[in-house]
């Protein structure tokens, strides 16, 4: 299991952090933020990585970083390449790749909504899902969803008859 020669060659042209085969047809590339767009452009131009499958964002709270993962698929090589970049959590800004891959429009918008990452030159960073949300970006690790839910919503406080009987006998629900 090795990286196909043509891909290896292309990757060699850029100062990358690392590249390795993680599974059959899965290549992980760690790139520097400054040269990720160039990388994607090379891949698209030379090796037919036309299809942007997804852009994922991972919030690494301890490191104070957002990890952006660009999953691109090449029909030519039958290979899915995941390009990882780490950007500082504050201010959390990065460049859009909309000009290169139109689907990025959706994913960048989604990441902006869920993580608060700002993509410079993105097509639209309008809210899509959380149109009336005024809390912090919910997918951030420092947002405690459960606490928020407990504070915002009420839950049923059951007290059926069988429970009353048991409580009368000295039992009851345990915490």
């Amino acid at each position: 299991m090795t990286i196909p020669a043509p891909l290896d060659e292309v990757l060699g042209e850029l100062p990358l952090v690392a590249a390795r085969l993680t599974a059959p047809r899965r290549v992980r590339v760690d790139a520097r933020p400054e040269n990720l767009p160039a990388l994607l452009e090379l891949l698209k131009g030379r090796l037919g990585f036309f299809h942007l499958s997804a852009i994922s964002c991972v919030d690494w709270l301890e490191e104070g970083q957002f990890e952006l993962v660009y999953h691109v698929w090449s029909d030519k090589l039958k290979l899915l390449l995941s390009a990882h970049v780490r950007i500082p959590r504050e201010p959390g800004e990065y460049v859009s790749i909309y000009d290169l891959h139109e689907p990025a429009g959706f994913f960048e918008r989604d990441i902006h909504e869920m993580f608060g990452v700002v993509f410079d030159g993105a097509l639209s960073l309008d809210r899509f899902i959380l149109t009336s949300w005024d809390g912090p970006p919910p997918m951030r690790k420092d947002f405690d969803a459960r606490k928020y839910a407990e504070e915002t919503f009420s839950t049923v406080n059951y007290h059926p008859d069988w429970l009353k009987d048991i409580e009368a006998a000295g039992g009851g629900l345990e915490e």
């Binding site: 139109e102 918008r109 149109t131 009336s132 809390g135 919910p138 839910a149 009420s154 839950t155 406080n157």
Partner: protein, 267 residues
Amino acid sequence: MTDKPLKANERPPAGAEEAAGPAARDAAGPGQACPAPSPQERGVWRKIMDRFADHCRARSLFVLHYCTGCGAIELPPTITSRFDMERVGITPMVTPRQADILLITGYLSIKTLKRVILSYEQMPAPKYVLGFGSCTINGGMYWNSYATVKRLDQYIPTDLFIAGCMPRPEAVQQVLLQLIEDIDSGRANAWRDYYRNYDFYLGNQQALFGPKWNTPTDVIGEAEHYGLAGEGTYGPHTKLLAESGGTPMELARAERPARAITGRRKP
């Protein structure tokens, strides 16, 4: 999404408490069907007419065609050949204005809840609400999610709940048959509770949507029209309505309307 304290667990004023007959158990709190008006309110003739109306009403019910959640996937089977609900005169209806039944098919995201309330208020009384599955009862799978409401009956009065995640078509059949029976026997009166305790429901709605929350329907006016306006109808929350003065359209715009993400980038 506001720091306003939630009113969910607050007992409504006496409106819903005057329990009577079989429904006594059900008057436990908000959202439970509250009893039919007591005899001294209406004359015997009117009562007979009511019974007759209920009897006819129960034979032809339109279900609002609104798939609010995953439970909706079991509706097509329910209304089509296999579990054919048209046998008992139940069929989907596209507009709230002509619908009798509002099915809340599972979880409600806050965004959907707004539309549900708008639809519900557009429906003409008497109207009936059915809660599908765990999510409408106590949050279900999404009990710790930030996006879905946990208790339907805190926001609109609910006639019947049905267990399941999601309920099978047979279960949906049963809940509809049960509803028909309740309507026929004049027990399905949850809709009155909305008018009787409008302030309670509005309070919970405002707790989620903000104090400026408003709808085009003049609920209080309708409450007075139906003779259901009680001390539970007016309250601190209804006062806010006058001040807010925003229509849903304005509020919708306030929701930062999105632009298309296709085509040429806007300058």
